[in-house]
């Protein structure tokens, strides 16, 4: 059966929206103004040490982006990138949300590609911005360009960055690049460092994809079955299940050991049983 392309169902809506944007953009251009550029330029111009953001202000800027023309976005991007690289993290938040909104557009990857290195400077900022940066680089539409891979692997390998943001990057790397050697190396480096159990559970979840076909990644999940944290032990069998039949087969002895483990939490055993019941040939 032939699938209907997912974007086709929204075509009428999208074409209607384009018409409206075209009219609005024409009006703005007629006045010699680019509203998005103005928003971020004005933000930078009005910045002072006493400045503080208003509730919803970052959203008001980003919301204009989805409706704007590609040309208006290109014109506005230098101003947006100036907020991304600003010294004040609050201003950077505006820029980070804006580039995320650009990346959400169907032409997002193309628009952002010239600025990937500038966007990656957010990896040197606070944890929220690191997390958002990982999201921007990994979710831009229609697909992140290959140039994001070295930026993400370099970030994951750093020992002094926010571990949650690094988990986000791991998830993106497996999705964008699959288990390439440099990706597996970055992931094993990450798991070789001590991380809080809650983050470790999230990191395991990030490995839970059929694209994690490298046995070294399976072994990381298998080690999670013996972790001291219930949250991690509960996550590990789910992750193995999501990795696919080969990973499950590889992990079967370790999973059976959990079933026989005295004092193990019922919730953990439930997920292990669920994983073991998956037929090895099914998808």
């Amino acid at each position: 059966m032939q699938e209907t392309p997912p974007c086709a169902r929204n075509w009428k809506v999208v074409s209607g929206a384009f018409l409206a944007i075209f009219v609005l953009a024409g009006l703005a251009n007629a006045q010699g103004k680019n509203l998005i550029q103005s928003f971020y330029s004005d933000l930078l111009a009005s910045y002072s040490s006493e400045w503080s953001p208003q509730p919803g202000q970052a959203l008001r800027g980003a919301d204009r982006i989805s409706k704007a023309s590609s040309e208006d976005i290109r014109t506005a991007l230098p101003a947006i990138l100036a907020t991304v690289t600003h010294r004040d993290a609050r201003i950077q938040s505006f820029g980070a949300l804006a580039v995320y909104a650009v990346g959400e557009r169907s032409d997002g990857a193309e628009l952002l590609k010239p600025y990937l290195s500038s966007i990656a400077t957010l990896f040197d900022s606070d944890s929220r911005l690191q997390l958002t940066c990982a999201a921007v680089l990994s979710t831009m539409k229609p697909a992140p360009p290959a140039e994001v891979v070295p930026l993400l692997t370099a970030f994951v390998e750093k020992a002094d960055r926010d571990t949650r943001a690094q988990v986000h990057a791991i998830s993106a790397l497996l999705r964008v690049a699959g288990p390439r050697p440099e990706v597996v190396r970055a992931i094993t480096t990450f798991f070789s460092r001590p991380v809080p159990s809650a983050v470790k559970a999230d990191a395991l979840n990030a490995l839970g994809t059929p694209r994690a076909t490298d046995p070294r990644l399976w072994n990381i999940a298998i080690q999670g079955l013996g972790d001291s944290s219930v949250a991690v032990r509960m996550t590990a069998p789910q992750v193995l299940r999501r990795m696919g039949p080969e990973a499950l087969q590889h992990a079967t002895p370790a999973l059976e050991a959990v079933i026989n483990r005295k004092g193990e939490a019922a919730e953990v055993k439930r997920f292990v049983r669920e994983a073991l019941q998956v037929p090895s040939q099914s998808r």
Partner: protein, 447 residues
Amino acid sequence: MSYEADGPRGLQAPFSPAVAGKWKGSMWHVDDTRTSLITVGNAGANPTTAAMVLYYGQNESYELRQKLAPGEQMWADVAQIIRTQLPDINGRIIPPDTHFGTYDLLDLDNGSLGQLYEGKLTIDRKYGYAVYGCAMCCLERATMYPSSIYGHQGAKSPVAVRVVNCEGTIDDRQGFSWASQNPTIVSIPLTGVEAGHESPGDTSLGAIVTLVKQGQKYCSPFNVGVNGAASTLPPQTFQVQYASYIPVDHIDGPVVCTIGDFSTPLIYKGDAGRGTFRTAEAITVSVGVNQVSGFIADTGETRNYGTGSPANGSTLSGMDEDGIQYDCRLWNNKGKASPAQFAQQVTFPTLQQAQVLFYGESSNPLEAPAPINWSMRTVIDAPPAGSSSAYANFNHTCYPAHQIKVNNQLVYLYTPPRNDGVFLTNCLLLHLDKVIGQSNTVTVPSN
């Protein structure tokens, strides 16, 4: 009484035949024709502390204290005190232009059963007349205090005997021989102090207290009984529930599902109309007995769907559940986040109030972390009589919806205005626009 042989100066030295713990003195005078010498003695068998308080002017006072051995007396020459500006125990002096006032004598160690006797010498150059004070043994009245007690099962209530003397001065004492008409409802030890609310019902408490009354020579003690009502109310129990949920049928996921060269957007199942949730905490508290039970922390199942969903064109339904995982078509994947990091803290600042703090964070287990977080304090006021009420102090991410219920009564509800990716990034990645404040107080049912 004696007089100068060659002049009009006379001396009176009247001593009262009674002993008491408090004497309300009459007037003292210091002027050209009169001066007063006031004395107080210890008629008891043990040492005691006597206080002599001189009142003058509008509301001014001057106090002397002295430890008196049995039989010992304390003297005060009022004229000399004024003339030499002698400071009292508080460092105060009587101004030189003061000419009259009143006085009290007090037995500080033995209260109303004190053993002081009074004497006063008034040297009156004109009339040679002295007036002495009277012992304060006027009738005391006693009641149980509070006059009735009530509390929830398991609680304790303080109880005492309130004695009011003839001047209206209140003295709360414990009395003795405390007893309950029905100790299975409200119990109390013989020595009183605190009654225990054992089981629902009504009963009464009683005690004996020793008061004093004026005798012929002495203030004499007598015993009197007091009593009052005592009730035990059933404990008031409240279940506090917190939940976060996606308030629509489904939302767009941030990434695409890819198999080989095929990619499709993913959607995530929401909670609207399904009674499901993303994160939840619940606990039961019993106000009055300070009991906590039944802590529950849980997460809802996360399910995502690929191309072809929603199969009915609008909402996810059974038609989307094809049971085939990881194929990017219809139902694609599921996961369950761990609630191990969810926490609670319960305090009972008073016997009528409980405060429940829920806090934690959780991420979609099928995506990179973008944590929902919350810190929700629910304050429940449950007076023994009248209706119970609750309000919430909230601090949470601006996505998804968050709510607090107490015994199924909605106390707080936040519904996000949007469900799109930019808004979620604003709320869950950048943690901008966090929602912080206090809800209105609402009446809640009690169990």
